[in-house]
Symmetry: C2
Subunit: 586 residues, 2 copies
């Protein structure tokens, strides 16, 4: 076995072409080993095996520096840079993250998990190199899907004129984003592929870059020749390579969207080995609700920046929605401005994506949407500590990032019916930009009908009137509040007041004032960091009164691949810990 003997890129360089091809086979087996057992990014890794082997054969990593976009395609890179055990042996799976990570290896330069950043980050490495008068190669790798994000274009534009030195952009063109590609540049990429790089117009040359094309991106031999051609080049160049996403596993080659990312699965059948129960979650709920709405109202339109599944729009449902579903590609800024424009011209637009990616649009939400107060709706999933747990994909910053933008109405539903009611209200109202945080605690159905009208902005809901302690339990931490209330009744012998704040972005002054009467302590619970959180505004409100306030939420820190239960415990977020604190304070 060759892979067993690869401890660094030096060992790759010792092999001949035939041996490198065997190595590629072994790499794919190791990929299959890990991915079938614990899941991960399938298609991106299977497609890049040959190109990454060739990169390490030709260049001198880590002196020559590779920056991978999203870095979800770097499993092969990790295997060749001393981390093969993370793919070969189950007991070592946890040693490697799913993305590049400088703490793992000197061959990784950045923690990366969002798209469209590699050219820009690498351009910084190149600028510093030039200032220091060093000479190494800097190589940015970016997929065709990621190329559609604003930062990638800004990066191309910069290197196309401002870097007068070595810089290599490898455009890994597999004709697919997570879902299918959307955007005018993909017509040009196709023309370039169809003409072996000789199309009439050339996106990369329009950005001022030199350009070569390699149609056989899954041939080690060809990729070695291509990289040798550009190694030590004295100016920026784009190396456009054509690869096959999911290469080497028939099911993934045939269904690129489904196999972009996978759960654990059976290699023979491709079927997932994880039991999801009835598999009915907020994504499907949202799509079913919206499709029904679309049929009744042709001005309803769902928009997503390449994240159709976050609101349940699989291929079949996208077809049903027709022109009322828009995927703008990985272009969050465009998505927010688009819904603002649609709302301004009388349409009812709903943007759905993952909370970590909406971070790319702070300015668009502030300027394009909220200053203009246009009535569009943003629906976010994974807003919870119980969502994605990679350091680059955390949802726990959503409240602190967006809730301080004026005019925005941020809603935190506590259960299924409330979610749908809020969504329906938001789509029909014509006064406010609205952001709705999908609950991260599964579909909770109280079997009662939620309020239909949310136009009385910042009116909290008292779910149970009590005394001494008031619990403001926000969004999907509402159920923790219920638990706390139950334990207080049992152990402390009184009934606390339980409140569902519903609105993250404002204070119900009337209610807060009224609490002063029979309460000594107000506690707040929120599924996000404490700094800049909902609770801190409540603490500020009561600051000069006799009411005591205790805010519960998460510490401000980047956490990585954590255990949810442990994190909750560390932050004193379990019901018993909270009741213990209450007892101590009152």
């Amino acid at each position: 076995m060759y892979l067993e003997k690869i401890n660094s890129p030096k060992d790759v360089k010792k092999l001949n072409i035939e041996e490198l091809e065997k190595l590629a086979e072994e790499v794919r087996k190791a990929l299959m080993n890990r991915l079938s057992k614990i899941g991960g990014h399938f298609g991106p890794n299977f497609g890049m095996v040959e190109a990454i082997i060739a990169m390490h054969y030709v260049f001198e990593s880590p002196e020559d520096k590779f920056v991978f976009d999203v870095s979800h395609q770097t499993y092969t890179h990790k295997m060749l840079t001393g981390r093969k055990n993370g793919y070969l042996y189950e007991e070592n799976f946890k040693d490697v993250s799913g993305y590049t990570n400088p703490e793992e290896s000197e061959h990784d330069f950045f923690n990366v998990g969002h798209t469209s950043t590699s050219i820009s980050l690498a351009s910084g490495l190149a600028k510093a190199r030039d200032l220091k008068e060093d000479k190494e190669n800097i190589i940015a790798v970016i997929g065709d899907g990621s190329l559609g994000g604003g930062e990638a274009f800004e990066g191309l534009n910069y290197v196309g004129s401002e870097l007068d030195s070595n810089f290599i952009v490898v455009v890994n063109d597999n004709q697919q984003s997570i879902a299918e590609n959307h955007g005018g540049i993909y017509k040009n990429l196709q023309e370039l592929r169809d003409t072996n790089g000789n199309a009439k117009t050339n996106l990369f040359k329009s950005f001022g870059l030199d350009y070569i094309y390699q149609s056989e991106g899954n041939s080690i031999q060809k990729m070695i020749e291509t990289f040798e051609q550009v190694k030590n080049i004295d100016h920026p160049i784009v190396v456009h390579i054509n690869t096959q996403k999911g290469k080497g596993y028939k099911l993934a080659e045939d269904n690129k969207e489904a196999w972009h990312w996978c759960m654990p699965f059976d290699e023979t059948t491709g079927k997932t080995t994880v039991d999801f129960g009835d598999d009915y979650d907020y994504d499907t709920l949202t799509a079913d609700y919206l499709l029904d709405k679309m049929k009744k109202d042709k001005t309803v339109v769902a928009v997503t920046p390449a994240m159709p599944e976050t609101i349940g729009f699989n291929i079949e449902k996208r077809k049903q929605a027709g022109k009322q579903f828009v995927d703008v590609g990985i272009a969050e800024e465009q998505a927010v401005a688009l819904i603002s424009g649609i709302a301004k011209n009388g349409g009812k637009a709903i943007l759905g994506t993952n909370s970590t990616f909406i971070q790319r649009t702070y300015d668009q939400i502030s300027q394009d949407l909220c200053i203009n107060n246009n009535p569009a709706t943003i629906v976010l999933n994974y807003t919870s500590v119980a969502g994605l747990n990679d350091v680059t994909h955390l949802g726990i910053f959503t409240i602190s990032a967006f809730s301080h933008i004026p005019n925005l109405v941020m809603l935190a539903p506590t259960n299924k019916d409330e979610y749908i009611s809020m969504l329906d209200w938001s789509i029909e109202q014509r006064k406010h930009p609205v952001m709705i945080l999908m609950p991260g605690n599964g579909i909770i159905d109280y079997g009662r009908i939620a309020d239909k009208d949310y136009s009385n902005i910042n009116k909290y809901k008292v779910e149970e009137q009590g005394e001494k302690v008031a619990i403001l339990a926000l969004g999907d931490f509402y159920q923790i509040g219920e638990e706390v209330s139950k334990i207080v009744k049992e152990k402390l012998g009184f009934t606390p007041t339980l409140i569902n704040p519903r609105y993250v972005t404002g204070i119900d002054k009337e209610l807060l004032e009224s609490l002063k009467d029979k309460h000594k302590l107000v506690i707040t619970l929120e599924d996000g960091i404490l700094d800049g959180g909902f609770g801190s505004n409540i603490a500020s409100y009561y600051g000069d009164s006799n009411i005591k306030v205790k805010n519960y939420g998460l510490k401000k820190e980047f956490i990585d691949r954590y255990d949810v239960e442990e994190i909750l415990k560390e932050n004193r977020l379990t019901p018993n810990q909270i009741v213990e604190d209450i007892k101590n304070i009152i």
Copy 2:
């Protein structure tokens, strides 16, 4: 006089070419009248007179919809849509803002002040039109400088394939951003101009759009012909026009950067009529400090996204800095990723810009910079309520937007020496990403040497030890704290404790604990909104203690063209109001 009789675009359509040319002369006179008396965007407006007259001649605004990028070039548009008095008569100057404003006119669709948004916003208008099966023309106007921002590229990419209907992008190419253009696409724009639109490669065609070129963008006749050619077109097209920035005023034609925006000036000499005193502010201070630093250390590099003047780098100083100064064009995302990459590869990078524009980089600061904990410095001006006061350019959201990102060290200096000391420390340290808020209260020089070392993160500085009340006076509101302290001593007869927190992004627990001893009340002062502000974290910290907390700052709202003194009074931010509150609480 023709302009006097223009009450709506209908009146423009009644004129013949000769009359329209006279109208253009009158428009320029009116522009000169307003700009020489109260200042504003000079170059962009003088250059677009003919094109905008032609737009209103050919299209049917407001049914046909114009969306102007930045919208700082819309003075002519405003004159032709019922708002001429705002340019003709001094008593009406205040009736019109410097940007498009839907509250002013049905001919304006968005409040716009940031760049690169027009294509995306207009694409939303177009999408809603198509859903409603309406037929109006949608026209987005964007300058060559604005074209370099990520959102503009995302917009081009979207309309280049996803809109199968009328859409007109007018690219106003005046070969200039605010400063000179930077980026590879400007080589292509030049080729297109040089070949009358027939260059080998074509940026806009690479994005999938149809394209025509008009070299005479300052000819009403030619512009009318051009717009008539594309009116009611059934697919997206770029109309690339060549105009002269500052056209019609020799000084502005010759010095485009200086005349992008002007203060009140004398028409004959072009000299400003406002007395700035010695004109020495934080921008110049920063450039002088950095230039000296650069001479001693070749790895020091200043980076700006088209805002060189915010850190004092005028043309002369940019020349002196050479390769150690980088303007990436209007591309904030690129700028942040660039400094992260430079820092990672051993360079010392300082990004300077206006606080309102750094909003475009929430995700880059979080992901590209802070998760990676790279030691780069961001210096922001206009972070104060006393900064720019257009609703699209407010600095009062900086703390609430960025201070909750983990790993970021946000510093708020209170005076000149502290600012320079913090900047120097930040550049030399290798542990933290740092953001420094330039004071907005002018150069205050205490004539004493500030601390040099800020590596003891979150250590607040007690400037005067006192009792009963502790004043945490942050950044450029420190001097309000000093005033409050003085008045308390005089009127309430005790010495309060005065603290300079210095660090916005953390809590000095040791100090806050120690205050519990002799203090009943802690007040916080900050130059930004209260929601998600520095003070709210202090209130949260003390929430379950006996210490009372009162936070002072601004209400969360979009304010427009306000008077600073009035806003401070409305928010109870004058020293006397604060002392009054203190008296009531203790």
